[in-house]
């Protein structure tokens, strides 16, 4: 068999669909192996190796941008949708790796498996977005989750970190059980686990009555499992504890990549395959969206730890995502994609600033992370650029133009209005109003207050590059949203 024929054969098997996440997984293994070979003084190269893997995979996605392929017996699919999410995950992972290069060394967790697990998690997330079969989707979810369980407990000596990992793991297993049970019921009801079969069995007008209880219970269980991953209320309890205890860079990664992967799977399953259930799904999501937004924003106000505040903020943002999912339709789902992209920049940026700030000389615990909100008092005086970047992220998270967050919310709420969910949109806007309070408090402290505890900003080049990229992304999406919005619309069109 000549090379051409081999390539042809692989192509026909749909191997192309697997290339992006395979490359990430291979680089994860390479990083693990390199970790064995490298001398301690050479370990600084590890993040760069991980970054190279991310860039390599991103290049492959770019190369396959206009391709469509279904592979492995209809288990995974490459289309504009999976390519879009792959880019989002890779972007998020790349930025986290850059932020980690200083953070991990400073906190003493710079080991090879840190970067390898990040890459494995990313490959799982990419698998979730490109899976078109329930078991494959579950596989991706578990690859991502297991990586995150380990990573959130990566500060092995710190009780908070161990607690974070334990809680996440146990509750995660609980949620996985729901998912798996749902998948089993689906298999029982339709005799297949592919999304195409779901659509075929449940797409008819007679559904759900002909398949009855089984299929309804199955989709309800799936919804619960995904809502857990999204961090929707009342499945959110793990979020604050885990976000607070996990290493800050991992928290950033979790809030961005894990949430985006859940949204991607949700759109593929409920948007594209179970669209006949949409009215019922929307009824449940409506309630989830309202309680998630409200609880996230309201409780965020009372927080004194910045990571915890950002954790509740991420719950609130999951609520906005649920508004978009409630709206459904092409407008609703493409607003999810835009939101996810905007969210990568502003959330990673905010956590990035947190990861770069630590207590300065003078205190008993100099060099420790500065996690109390009061530590941000007067940051602008000492670290003007860091404070300015943080201000941009806070403005964007509260949804004020000209930042990404504004248009993200604008698209979400206008999709809701167009879907007839005016009430939901109003609740969403009121929630944004509440959120301004706690976001702007950070800005207020940074610019209007005197410094209370001396804090120091890291001088890590890589960290600054990541922050600059986040600021740029946040502003770019806020000033020139339309080409990105079009990208999101095209990606959604590719799965309908």
């Amino acid at each position: 068999m000549n090379e051409y024929a081999l390539g042809q054969g692989l192509w026909e098997m749909g191997f192309a669909a697997a290339v992006p996440f395979t490359l990430v997984a291979l680089s994860a293994m390479a990083v693990l192996l390199a970790d064995l070979w490298l001398l301690p003084s050479q370990k600084r190269a590890l993040p760069w190796a991980a970054l190279a893997g991310v860039l390599l995979s991103a290049a492959s996605v770019a190369f396959l941008w206009n391709e469509e392929a279904t592979g492995f017996g209809g288990a995974i699919r490459l289309d504009r949708f999976s390519a879009f999410f792959a880019m989002v995950f890779l972007l998020g992972t790349g930025l986290v790796v850059l932020l980690s290069s200083a953070y991990a060394r400073r906190e003493g967790v710079e080991r090879g498996e840190y970067y390898a697990l990040l890459l494995f998690g990313t490959s799982g997330a990419m698998l979730m977005a490109s899976a078109v079969e329930l078991v494959t989707f579950f596989l991706g979810l578990e690859i991502l989750s297991v990586s995150l369980y380990v990573l959130s407990g990566f500060f092995r000596q710190r009780p908070a970190s161990a607690e974070a990992a334990a809680k996440y793991f146990i509750l995660g297993a609980f949620a996985s059980a729901f998912l798996l049970y749902g998948i089993a019921l689906f298999y029982g009801a339709s005799g297949s686990t592919t999304y195409a079969a779901l659509r075929e069995s449940f797409g008819s007008a007679a559904f759900p009555y002909s398949h009855g209880l089984l299929a309804l219970a199955a989709s309800g269980l799936l919804l619960i499992g995904l809502a857990f991953k999204l961090g929707a209320v009342p499945f959110h309890m793990w979020v604050p504890d885990t976000y607070e205890g996990a290493p800050t860079t991992i928290t950033a990664y979790m809030s961005v990549v894990s949430k985006a992967a859940a949204a991607a799977a949700f759109i593929r399953v409920f948007g594209a395959s179970l669209s006949s259930l949409q009215q019922d799904t929307s009824a449940v999501l409506w309630v989830l969206a309202v309680v998630t937004m409200t609880l996230g924003n309201v409780v965020a106000i009372a927080q004194t730890n910045i990571k915890r505040m950002l954790a509740y903020s991420s719950i609130a943002h999951a609520g906005y995502l649920l508004v978009a999912l409630t709206a459904a339709g092409e407008a609703g789902y493409s607003s999810v994609l835009f939101y996810v992209l905007a969210y990568v920049f502003m959330t990673l940026g905010a956590f990035g600033v947190v990861s770069l700030v630590r207590k300065g000389e003078g205190g008993a615990d100099a060099g420790a992370e500065a996690l109390d909100i009061s530590h941000y008092s007067g940051l602008a005086g000492r670290h003007g650029l860091l404070a300015a970047a943080m201000a941009v992220f806070m403005v964007s998270l509260s949804g004020i133009p000209p930042t990404a967050g504004f248009f993200a919310k604008f698209y979400v709420f206008s999709a809701a209005v167009r879907a007839g969910e005016v009430g939901l949109a109003i609740i969403g806007v009121l929630n944004s109003l509440v959120s301004v309070y706690f976001y702007m408090r950070i800005v207020f402290l940074m610019y209007m207050k005197e410094e209370t505890v001396p804090v120091r900003g890291s001088r890590s080049r890589a960290g600054w590059v990541a922050l600059a990229a986040c600021v740029l992304g946040t502003l770019l999406l806020g000033v020139l949203p339309s080409s990105f919005a079009r990208l999101a619309t095209e990606s959604i069109a590719s799965i309908f």
């Binding site: 759900p208 619960i224 449940v284």
Partner: protein
């Protein structure tokens, strides 16, 4: 080059970015060089655009270039699109050319200022915004430029923000402009409501099809837009900010508050000529406001003693002439006067700057005098500029002003013309009063006169040449062709036709239908001679008052003490506005704050904030930290979701 019209605003923007990010590190020389070079490149590219445009057939001189889609949502699609047509290209060339000279001048003028980099960043940002304003292809881009130049103006008026007067003047300019902008925005919204789009290319051609002559909608739109213009271009009733704006650095006054930004209103009205000609009432308002402002501001200029304030009132007055031109349907004449005015008024301000610089900050003309010999370049430049603004043949102002007067006579008859001619007399008088007081007589200043550096003298000379010969492009009697009018004809084609056929006022109909000057009792040449003579009388009076017998003004002052003090105090308009609008408003606001805001609103806000905060503390307790509780929450949630789900069965 037409395809690259976006380069014109892009260069100054690049200058801003370079100075923001690198200027602090690379030092003063770099800052000045980058600023000047970026504007020079903008000028070069606008000239290239102009040259290419001249090679096209007049009918094809309308090129829209879509730069990017800014945003789109349902039926609102906004493109960042630029338009190159004769009007915008002419504006680009004038703006970037004058801006370049003033940038060069600023290098010398601002050399010792600690805010040197900030100054050039603002100035470049202004140039970028102004070029965006004149090259936008829809109302939104126009509006973005409109607000951005307003912002730059605010920043530069208050450039020396430690001085209270400067900070106050900046605020005054900003607030007064907000009133105008409010109308402007309403106008734009109304356009969108009526036409469903904001593109010039779709609004203007459709206006005449969709609306009849004198339609109330178009009248409302044009009046609202004009309200914006009265703010930006300092016309009655919103002119009060411009004299105060003289607190800014003098090159800023030259560029922003004389040559370019304040003419944005004229540009906008000319740009919307297709709408204005459909609204005779609005045309009448524009003409009346312009005429009134022209004479009124000139009368205040007669007695002011601050060098820059005289020039400020002169600017207001000249802008009035431009609006008068637009109001009588002579849009091309208005734009022509805008151009010549940019040359000579920028020059006048730059000379003022040179003089103030030379006298170490002295601005009172009563303490100047005799500077002819010490500042020869400034002196001769000032002479040229004064002759130009007074309208003496063959200096640039003659051609443009004469054309406005002629068109006014044609459209509105001898009475209106007479009022406008009084303005010409006043203009000639106050300009030469200034000239004689500053450069003639004995020095009344105590100190040493600093020689201006070359970077100040060279721009003066350049502008002097432009002020002298710049009007020749619109001298039909010399060349048999009116280049500016021909060039602008495609833009105003609809406008001129309408104005002529519809006759925007009954009284004017007779004059208009008479057509060319041949049928009119007086010829254009004759009227030109009349207006020159009027200006000459003004000059002669100034000469008699301030050179031959300097105690005449004092005697007049004593004889007409009331009139004098009314003029000196600018008709007490600032005081009147203070009494009628500002103080009641402040009192009202204080009342609102004390009663409504502090009690009702704050009460409601604090009440709801307290409720939310209390809720927050309560809900926070749900987060017990115990894993079992968390699992319970998940389980309960699951049960509720599933129960709901199953009821669907």
């Amino acid at each position: 080059m037409l395809d690259y019209v976006w380069l014109v605003p892009a260069f100054p923007l690049a200058g801003v970015l370079a100075n923001v990010f690198l200027g602090g590190r690379l030092g003063k020389k770099f800052v000045g060089l980058v600023s000047c070079a970026s504007v020079a490149l903008a000028f070069a590219s606008s000239v290239a655009v102009l040259v290419e445009m001249l090679a096209l057939e007049p009918g094809l001189r309308h090129v829209e270039r879509h730069v990017f889609t800014w945003f789109l949502s349902a039926d609102l699609k906004v493109d960042a699109a630029l338009l190159a047509d004769p009007l915008s290209v002419l504006m680009m060339v004038v703006v970037s050319g004058v801006a370049f000279l003033i940038h060069v001048y600023s290098v010398g003028y601002m050399a010792g200022d600690p805010g040197y980099r900030r100054y050039f960043i603002y100035l470049n940002l202004f140039t970028f915004s102004m070029l965006t304003l004149v090259s936008g292809a829809n109302f939104l881009v126009l509006y973005v430029g409109w607000e951005a130049v307003g912002l730059c103006s605010y920043l530069l008026i208050g450039f020396w923000y430690e001085k209270k007067a400067a900070a106050d003047a900046g605020r005054k300019a900003f607030i007064v402009n907000r009133i105008g902008d409010f109308g402007f925005v309403l106008g734009i919204i109304l356009i969108f409501r009526m036409f469903g789009t904001l593109d010039f290319g779709s609004v203007f051609p459709r206006a005449a099809e969709m609306f009849p002559m004198g339609s109330p909608t178009i009248t409302a739109i044009t009046l609202l837009l004009f309200l914006g213009a009265t703010g930006k271009s300092a016309q009655i009733p919103l002119y009060t900010w411009l004299p105060d704006a003289m607190e800014g650095p003098t090159p800023v006054s030259a560029l922003i508050h004389a040559a370019t930004m304040v003419t944005a209103g004229v540009y906008m009205v000319a740009r919307c000529s297709a709408l204005y000609v459909l609204a005779p009432v609005s045309m009448g308002v524009v003409a009346a406001v312009g005429l009134a402002t022209a004479v009124y501001a000139a009368s205040i200029g007669l007695v002011q003693n601050d060098f820059k304030r005289v020039l400020a009132y002169s600017t207001i007055s000249q802008l009035g002439y431009m609006f008068l031109a637009c109001g009588v349907g002579a849009f091309a004449a208005g734009v022509f006067h805008l151009m010549t005015h940019a040359f000579f008024k920028a020059l006048l301000f730059l000379v003022a700057g040179a003089v103030i610089h030379a006298l170490a900050g002295e601005q009172d003309i009563r303490r100047m005098g005799g500077l002819r010999r010490e500042l020869p370049v400034s002196f001769w430049s000032f002479v040229v500029a004064s002759l130009a603004i007074a309208g003496i043949f063959p200096f640039s102002g003659f051609f443009s002003k004469d054309e406005i007067l002629w068109d006014t006579l044609q459209a509105r008859g001898p009475l209106v013309w007479g009022v406008a001619a009084v303005g010409v007399l006043l203009t000639a008088f106050y300009m030469f009063r200034l000239l004689f007081l500053v450069f003639w007589g004995k020095p009344r200043h105590g100190g040493h006169v600093h020689r201006p550096p070359l970077s100040i003298d060279v721009p003066l000379a350049c502008l002097a040449v432009l002020s002298a010969v710049g009007g020749l492009v619109g001298a039909p009697m010399l060349f048999g062709r009116h280049f500016i009018k021909e060039f602008l004809a495609p833009v105003f084609a609809g406008g001129a036709g309408h104005a002529a056929s519809a006759g925007h006022a009954a009284a004017a109909a007779a004059h208009v239908s008479a057509g060319a000057g041949a049928a009119h009792p007086v010829s254009e040449l004759g009227m030109a001679l009349v207006s020159i003579s009027i200006a000459a009388v003004g000059i002669a009076l100034a000469h008699r008052f301030y050179v031959m017998s300097p105690d005449v003004p004092r005697r007049l002052k004593e004889k007409f003490a009331t009139a004098y003090s009314v003029l000196l105090n600018k008709y007490y308009v600032d005081e009147a506005y203070g009494a009628i609008f500002v103080r009641p408003l402040v009192a009202f606001a204080a009342g609102l704050w004390r009663y409504l805001d502090a009690l009702v609103i704050d009460g409601a806000v604090n009440g709801s904030a307290n409720t939310v905060a209390a809720g927050s503390r309560v809900l926070r307790r749900l987060q017990t930290g115990r894993l079992q509780d968390y699992a319970l929450s998940v389980a309960l949630g699951a049960v509720v979701v599933l129960l709901f789900w199953l009821t669907r069965w």
